[in-house]
Symmetry: C2
Subunit: 164 residues, 2 copies
DNA sequence: AAATAATCATAAGCTTGCTTACTATATCTT
DNA sequence: AAGATATAGTAAGCAAGCTTATGATTATTT
């Protein structure tokens, strides 16, 4: 197993379906784990799913405010924490922002790398076991015991390259 | 070329020398590029060099305040920008913090990975061309043109492992 | 010497990210 | 029905990160 998915959101993909799938997946995960997929949690995930761009917490609040009473920061942070704990949302460290997981199948052994397009802002995920191994090997070669890896690659996506 | 340097700061290394070397290197780089290594810039770099821990901008200010009139944020940010632009300081994205570069020799083709010890807070750099290749290859396989890679690995350093 | 450019200081302020504390619901258990 | 647990709302606040604006120094160029 090297690459899992299309990796980068194509500009013309069926995003309705993409969103629906993600919500269905979230529901399934929560049910399986006997966790509650409450309205707020659903709405926060929904807000993140509205694009493949990472949103800051306050952007999430703004997004939600469009369709409900403006939620307080704490409300959103609680939902984000829940969603992250259940692997439904990733935090993009280099942006202090949050991204709905689009891969749905991170196995424990493979690290996730994010591809961040500096033109359009879209973010793709590549989940590769092979480079996770390399990365960990490199770390261990200096006696370091790696736990969590943050890999965020900025560049230009295929679509934006054509546009230039 | 696989690994360049000791990678992780040994607990008993000659840190005086370590600091002096870094300052000398900074001076050389600036001279070579016809850039001015002004007092503030030197002091900010000095503050970062006081440990192998990344410091937030306000921690830098606190550090400087010990030996001079407390600088304003803007002053420190300007210096940090300069130092980063010249490759003398790295930004640790997952911490919103800044780290004096300890490697002095990043060639353009190799990505830098940071090893962040969650016990002692020290940060090491490994600059490996081999995994940079892998990383870039993985990114390119989905049509993505990578530019800047952020690789930050949290874990436990060799020294802290012995301590447990 | 005058003009230009780079650097720095002063002052103020804004935004974001996140927390603490307390209360109110809802959900589940007994 | 009563109690325990999980979740969410309300209110307030704090700290960090970073910026804008403006004027003063200092260096470089002409
Ligand atoms: Zn989509
Ligand atoms: Zn793009
Ligand atoms: Zn040292
Ligand atoms: Zn350590």
């Amino acid at each position: 197993m090297t690459l899992a998915k299309p990796a980068f959101p194509a500009p013309d993909h069926d995003h309705r379906r993409c969103t629906a799938d993600a919500l269905a997946h979230a529901e399934a995960v929560c049910e399986q784990r006997a966790q509650k997929f409450t309205p707020i949690r659903r709405q926060v995930l929904g807000a993140l799913l509205s694009s493949h761009r990472p949103l800051g917490a306050y952007e999430v609040i703004d997004e939600l405010a469009k369709s409900m009473a403006r939620p307080a920061p704490i409300t959103v942070y609680r939902a984000l924490d829940f969603l992250m704990a259940n692997g439904l949302v990733h935090r993009i460290e280099s942006r202090n922002a949050y991204l709905a997981c689009a891969a749905h199948d991170h196995d424990a052994t493979s690290a996730v790398a994010f591809l961040i397009c500096e033109r359009c802002g879209l973010v793709g995920e590549i989940s590769s076991a092979s480079f996770a191994k390399d990365l960990n090997a490199a770390a261990r070669s200096s006696g370091f015991a790696p736990k969590l890896s943050v890999v965020e690659i900025t560049g230009v996506c295929a679509h934006c390259q054509k546009m230039s």
